[in-house]
Amino acid sequence: MLLAMACTVILAVVPFVPGAIELARPRDNRRLLIDQGYVRNPRFFGLSFRAKVAAALPAPGGVLPYRGSISLHRAESFEVRGQLRVPPGASIGGIIASLENTDIGRGAKLGDCYSRGGAIVADRASLRALACDGDVTLGEDVRIARWIDASNNMSVGERCDLGQSASADGNVLLREHCKFRRLWGRPIVTEAPHAAATITPTIEDVVVFGSRGLSLPRGTNLEQDLVVRGALQVGAQSKIRGDIKAHKSIVLHSGARIEGNVVTRQNLTVVGDVEIIGNLFVEGNIIVGSRSRIGSPDAFKSVYAAGTIQLRDRVKIFGWTVAESGGWVG
């Protein structure tokens, strides 16, 4: 009977023992870390990489090539050259820095690279990351595994994959079939000749129409915020000064001008030649049609899609683009 009682007490108490140990000798009582100095910066990867590389560079006038080590996530080999020319097909691991221009040959493979001058990356080369203080030119089919950042302009050839983030302090020119997730440029411009969608005229061209949403006809002028708990179509050549939101999809037809933010819980289609001085925030996918412009040189904006972003020809975006499920040009 004593055994039964002892068992009862012990078994009843055992679930509390690990907690009691933790209370008596805390191993996990620290507060959650909040980085009080954190500031969102679209060029974060490039700038933080440059800071680490700058700290590891040899003193001016030192012997080149210089070899050392640098720690990003872990210790890696670090090589510094005056001018970097990587022959076609070559493979260089670790982190490499060039104090002048960088020329990466066709099919070459590199890890993280820093270039103080400009950088030319030939077709089918692949890099883990690239930070460049000058202009960057990527050939066709170049693959960036992580990120790429340029202090000036960036020109990206067809079918390049820009990894997690591509940013430039100048403009970013993307050619057809490029893939991206995050872009920053002032502006981002696409070059992808593409046939425009055809439109079939209906009653919605002529009247404000509501069936399972709202359809504004061609030439609507509105100076008000607009919220629709269904789908929304904004007719061609319409002008809206205000934020617009729909719980279902939004279509902005050709020539529309929106001075405000565009928010939708589903998809957004910008047919073509639309100007939006506002942010796009879309929980689905975005298609930005040819010759559309988002933001302006004085007002950079963001294009965010929880799904995909498809940018057609001659799109111009001043600011930040995030495609959580990936984006492409074409």
């Binding site: 009977m1 055994l3 039964a4 009682m5 068992c7 009862t8 078994l11 009843a12 055992v14 679930p15 509390f16 690990p18 907690g19 959650l32 996530h73 693959r143 595994a145 992580r146 994959d161 820009l162 990894g163 997690q164 079939h177 893939k179 991206f180 997730r181 593409h194 046939a195 425009a196 969608a197 055809t198 439109i199 079939t200 005229p201 209906t202 919605e204 061209d205 359809s215 061609r218 179509q233 007719g235 061609a236 279509v251 037809h253 289609t269 047919v271 995909t308 498809q310 495609a323 959580e324 499920s325 990936g326 984006g327 492409w328 074409g330």
Partner: protein, 270 residues
């Protein structure tokens, strides 16, 4: 304005695939657990069903074995006891019949007064509030129990009825536990093997606790009478089972959390 979409020129996969995703651990606000594959969930479901089937098959024999063990222990400590027949759902159970001490009027008044004094002392001493509330709740139940016995003169449950209530509750816990624990485990990326281990450990633990607790309860009632019956059942009955389930579950979660920390690539982005 019907938009007729032209044939879309879309690449087979948009942007960087998972193979190229760098090992950037997402901020905690963006994290989601990896979703278990269909096969893994199916395996876990099968395991739960198998355990449930095992419980259905073995509940009665196990309960019978517990009854015999408890009766033996009680007899060994001078409390004459024997299993008796009973039917609960589809199970033939054998709750232990054992005597319960009869409590005289004076004894009940002492219990009542002691409980009241205990409440007052706690209110004056002011220990930490959660402890104070826990003990006061128990003492309140004791006051209610003693008062009821004083007023009515007899308990709501006699010894055999209490024994029956206890055993049927225990069997119900065994029936419910695999389903509840299994469902909870499905939310987390435990493997089918881990799920099975958690359920079986919880079940085994509960069976042993039930047996030991059963003997303890009956012995206490045999010595003190029915005044503590309410406290024993309501506070140290199924509520204790809940505590042990949470305790075991938390140990499993700690292990999982440590594993996820070591393999940061297992985290999903939103």
């Amino acid at each position: 304005m019907a938009l007729v979409a032209e044939p879309a020129v879309t690449p087979a996969t948009a942007a960087s695939s998972d193979q190229t995703r760098p090992s950037i651990v997402p901020h905690r606000s963006y994290r989601r657990l990896p979703i278990r594959g269909f096969r893994s969930r199916l395996s876990s479901t099968i395991i739960v069903l198998l355990v449930e089937l095992a419980v259905i098959i073995f509940a009665a024999p196990v309960a019978g074995g517990i009854s015999r063990l408890v009766a033996t222990a009680l007899n060994g400590s001078g409390v004459a006891s024997a299993p008796q027949g009973d039917r609960y759902l589809i199970f033939n159970l054998a709750p232990v019949g054992s005597p319960m001490a009869s409590t005289g009027y004076e004894t009940l008044v002492i219990w009542l007064a002691s409980a009241v004094v205990g409440i007052i002392v706690l209110a004056l001493l002011r220990p930490a509030l959660p402890l104070r509330y826990f003990v006061i709740s128990n003492l309140t139940l004791l006051v209610a129990s003693a008062a009821y016995l004083i007023v009515t003169g007899h308990p709501g449950y006699d010894e055999s009825q209490f024994s029956r209530v206890y055993l049927t509750t225990a069997v119900t816990v065994w029936l419910v536990l695999p389903v509840v624990v299994g469902l909870v485990c499905m939310l987390f990326p435990f493997s089918a093997l881990e799920t099975a281990a958690i359920i079986l450990i919880a079940l085994s633990y509960d069976v042993i606790l039930c047996a030991a607790r059963y003997a303890t309860f009956l012995w206490v009632l045999a010595k003190t009478g029915p005044v503590l019956m309410l406290n024993l059942y309501l506070f140290f009955g199924p509520l204790l089972d809940f505590a042990l389930i949470v305790g075991l579950f938390s140990a499993a979660l700690v292990r999982l959390s440590n594993k996820l920390d070591k393999h940061s690539e297992d985290w999903e982005w939103l």
